[in-house]
């Protein structure tokens, strides 16, 4: 099964000149007999936005799960920089700078936006009971630093007015934004976004795209699963098309949409 699967995967052209920050090779995910992801390989360079598109049930979210650690990969390898993270727990990957959002909104609904951000920060001392109990002073200092960062992130996204609102009191678009802001609390190296535009009001989409491009320019790699093709077009440097758990095409947006294989996959 393995060799055929890998043979079917088209070679993925790496952008010349820079080492990939995230490298996924031959990853497979199975749920009791069903192969959701079947030998997918791809890579992202710093500063690059890679789109993953494909029809429903193509295995896009499962792939994201395998990279983020929420889903166990039955085969293959996920490498972040020079670290192999395939067997790591999600929180370990996050601490290495691999951050993600979820398909259904995942804000902490009974915490304020401010708390949402602070909790996700790098060096959040709340992650360790020992730190909180044994080093109260250090904790207080960290808290101040973290709060400062949270305010700057809120300001950057013009969301300071929501700081005291509970997650569940936000609009759909605001929730998406909170998720992204949360990820940025950690200076991620790679950002995985699962349909970030769902629920975002159309007039805000443009701004969010600009924001994300701005984030990417700071040198992190973004992998984005998205249905809205015009968003993918405007946002992504390159696109990977998945169907039935496999990559069927890859390249610039304009090229792949012309691919007959892609067109038939979308039509079926």
């Amino acid at each position: 099964m393995g060799p055929e699967a890998s043979a079917a995967t088209p070679p993925f052209p790496m952008p010349a000149g820079s080492a990939p920050i995230l490298e996924v090779s031959e990853v497979a995910v199975g749920y009791g007999g069903v192969r959701a992801v079947d030998g997918v390989s791809l890579g992202i360079s710093p500063g690059e936005v890679l789109g993953v598109i494909g029809p429903n049930g193509a295995g896009k979210s499962s792939l994201l799960g395998a990279i983020g650690g929420q889903v166990r990969a039955s085969r293959g390898r996920v490498q972040l920089g020079d670290r192999d993270v395939t067997r790591m727990m999600p929180h370990q990957r996050a601490r290495l700078g691999l951050m993600r959002t979820f398909q259904t909104t995942s804000e902490f609904s009974r915490m304020t936006v401010f708390e949402n951000l602070v909790t996700s920060a790098e060096g959040n001392s709340g992650a360790s009971l020992a730190a909180v109990v044994l080093h109260p002073h250090r904790t207080a200092v960290r808290e101040r630093e973290v709060a400062e960062r949270a305010w700057s992130v809120l300001e950057r996204f013009e969301m300071t007015h929501t700081a005291d609102l509970y997650g569940r009191e936000l609009s759909g678009g605001q929730r998406r934004l909170v998720e992204i802001m949360r990820c940025l609390m950690r200076e991620p190296r790679v950002l995985l976004l699962d349909e970030p535009m769902v629920g975002v009001a159309p007039h805000l989409t443009g701004k969010l795209i600009d924001d994300l491009r701005g984030v990417a320019r700071e040198g992190l790699g973004i992998l984005i699963v998205e249905h809205a093709l015009e968003v993918v077009h405007r946002l992504c440097d390159r696109v990977v098309v998945m169907a039935f758990g496999k990559v069927i095409a890859a390249g610039a947006f304009e090229e792949v949409v012309k691919d007959p294989q892609v067109q038939s996959a979308y039509l079926s």
């Binding site: 749920y31 009791g32 166990r72 259904t104």
Partner: protein
Amino acid sequence: MSGQLIASIADGVVLAAILAVAAMGFTLQFSLTNVLNLSFGSVMTVGAFVAYLIAVVHLTPWLGIALGGVAGAVTTVVLGRGVLRLYARRRTQLFEMMMVTLGLSLIIDYTVQAISHNNIYGYSVLQGSALEMGPIRVTPVQVGIVILALVVLLATWGALKFTRMGKALRATAVEPGLARACGIPTGRVVLVTWVASGFLCGLAGVVFVISTQSVDYTTGEGFLPLVIAAAILGGVGNLWGAVGASLVMGIVTEVVAGLGQGGYSTVAGFAILVVVLLLRPGAVFGGSEDRQLVL
């Protein structure tokens, strides 16, 4: 000693038959609605008491078995349609729904306690003299219980596999949104599931008290943990799994009891669940948190 072992295994099969009837009802309900229904045991008690009342007025115990099942179905529909829906409308989450069923079970159990004056009532029906086959000693009613469990298994399996409603049920259990979009009347599917699983629940209650020969308000509640364990061990929604798990748990329970460790027999049954959990958590707990409430 091996004779004792064979005898214990036979006893285990009888226990498994009772367990299986309940576990099938439970797993059916659970797989569709995703509510871990802790009031299942209380409904068993209700079914058992109805059967007891039939015996009190000297009607045939067979009628008691049937009406016990009907009582289970009616109670379950009332709870499911009446109470649980009320909470579903308030966007109660899946997990909170389990707490709701727990509250329901407190209310039902202690109402039964109040009505029954907290007495234990003898219920000796259909008992006959023992049949002896080598080391195995069983009564006709026990053989009957095993046959009943088999009939229930085949009937439920057949209904799920071959009828339109059965197919609709399986589709809804897997992907409720999609099923609804495909024009499956999910409301009716849920109703049918309440009725069927409630009937099995009531039936299990009656079969249980035929075996124990006594009924009181704790009848079902005491049995429920085994039922839940069997349903989870068998894989939620998996009919054959539920029966297989019941067999394993029943036999282990009785073998341990046969070794003279009566106090630890039930514990041993649960221990299997724990061991499976420790060794292969994924095999038992495949579901994700995103499952939705279907009512």
